[in-house]
Symmetry: T
Subunit: 72 residues, 12 copies
């Protein structure tokens, strides 16, 4: 991180595959409307269960992006 | 929660009546500009005092909403 | 609390009415199978939203009960 | 909060009625000896149970008051 | 989560393969005696090391299940 | 800890003698109904006071035990 | 804080000078797009080091602003 | 705890002997000026070291006492 | 810290200048009525904003002082 | 864990592949200079993003090793 | 603590006797290689159980020592 | 942070001047024996008081450095 100003948003992504895939799902979706995503931090990992099997993983994460001059 | 991607915002609502009313005040106001609010979690409960009486309750909460394709 | 040994369980109750009612709902249901419930502590307060209105409150709580000789 | 110096005390109030009433009970009692109570923050919410019913709510809170020149 | 009452248990699962497999191991084992497991939350991720290699992952998780009428 | 699945319970023990004795009291009582207790972790240490003397210590602890095949 | 509804955003500011200047940098930049910023709270203070010297301070903060009718 | 209002104070006691003795030292000293001390909770346990030996234990604790009508 | 018994109070100081000055403001004011203040610990740093400028810093701190025989 | 004395170090490992690989990377590197690494605990999981893709995962972990007589 | 620079290490000591003895065991062992140990803080207290008896206590602690000029 | 492995150490620096100077004091001293210090995070800010004046600030921080092949 250099001398930019960053804004941090909180996201929840999910995946039937893995924790990493749930993170990537959230990042990819947020990237559609937020430019300049730079880093993330996992806040919570959880999931849903059906018939004794993990149905999907859900990851709550904070993601930071640079605030450019004039934009949001 | 299913396989959508969610975004979480942090809000503060207040009420002279009750903690529940302070929550509802924040949710109702946020609903004017955020579509698809789905859940909330109370982060902090506090309030102001005047002459030995609680003047109003303030509740800090996180609220999650689904990020739809192409929106917000 | 006196010199008994206690066991603590974690419960989630919900109510469309209030936080207090969600607590009471969890306590009443647990009381059907756990004898000697003595105290509770609220761990988390959250809820679901529909159309900008709180649909129900959910309260996560820990509840303690005395372990009697030879039981449970 | 403006540029006063505040002191914060920790209190426990209880009520058979509601969480809000337990807060108000603590604030009202503290107001007898502490001038200038201004705000509170709920630290913990708990209670006692008898026969599967909540007997009373107990709320631990921090309450802040202005330190006036020369007093308390 | 709807208006059921839930009970939450704390479990530790392990796996030589991955964090996800350790979660699944705990869920599958708990499912043998607990009906209606619905969700989990990861509380802690740790593991054991031998000769500079991770021997197995251990995941501490909370898992919630619905309390049905009359059962535990 | 090896590759078993563990379940964790939360207990409160007390003693007029010492913190260690309060821990031992909780473990010994839980051992009457839970097979295979393996470890504990202290969550909170507190106590009651009478006439300026500690009347007893109370220790809240988590205790883990192995879930054997087929049992609870 | 009065009876407005507030929204809270999380920001990271940095400065080669001081912690206070890093806070001010984040506030000033956020003020370009967020009307009615009212308060902040420092969440984390960190920084980067080069050749045994602090190169810059980075402060993560939460900042609250009033949600006016009809706006974001 | 019944329906009194309590006030909580934070104390540090120390002892060359044991953690329990450090708790008792703080409680006994506070009892000289605070009537009706009822319970304590250990917040932190630490100590000083000299020549590879623990010189004394220091325990930070919160202690609660009933606020009687008219007194502090 | 030696073998005295300490009491800890929680204070909020503010300053338009700096975090250090807000700390000093609280300490100086508390020193008017509390003898033997020895140390402090910062619990929270926050502040108010006006027109995109930090108007003042507010620091919540815990401060410890020795309880002398027979006093306070 | 038996009756050895352990020392705990804090490490950060990274990987473009997975969280598990980031853990393994840190453990393997630490093993070059620290004998007898026995366990780890994940403290934080984060990562960097480029063009809407996770570029690499970073895992902060604590790792414990036995202090042998006379060494390290 | 005066104006030295300190370094803090994290240790785990164990004892079949008591929590205090587990602390002392860790301090004594660390003192063989670390000069100038000054203070410790208990981070976690846990232990192992065999046949319903505490087999040994384990204490995780942070210990601080002065960094002298030129040494580690 | 790129794909290096980092080690994190915990330090305490102090200064009679400011929080920033206390951070710099710890970093500068650690830099004498630790190569490649890259970042720090403030864990705790505290200080000592004499005669109602802050005598010095003490900052506890974590500092990270790259583990180079074959070193430290």
């Amino acid at each position: 991180m250099d001398d930019h100003v960053y804004k941090i948003v909180e996201l929840v992504g999910s995946s039937t595959q893995s924790i990493e895939d749930a993170i990537q799902t959230a990042i990819k979706r947020a990237d559609q409307t937020i430019r300049n995503l730079r880093w993330f931090e996992v806040i919570q990992t959880r999931g849903h269960v059906e018939n004794g099997q993990v149905r999907h993983y859900q990851v709550v994460l904070k993601a930071g992006f640079t605030l450019e001059e004039g934009g949001q």
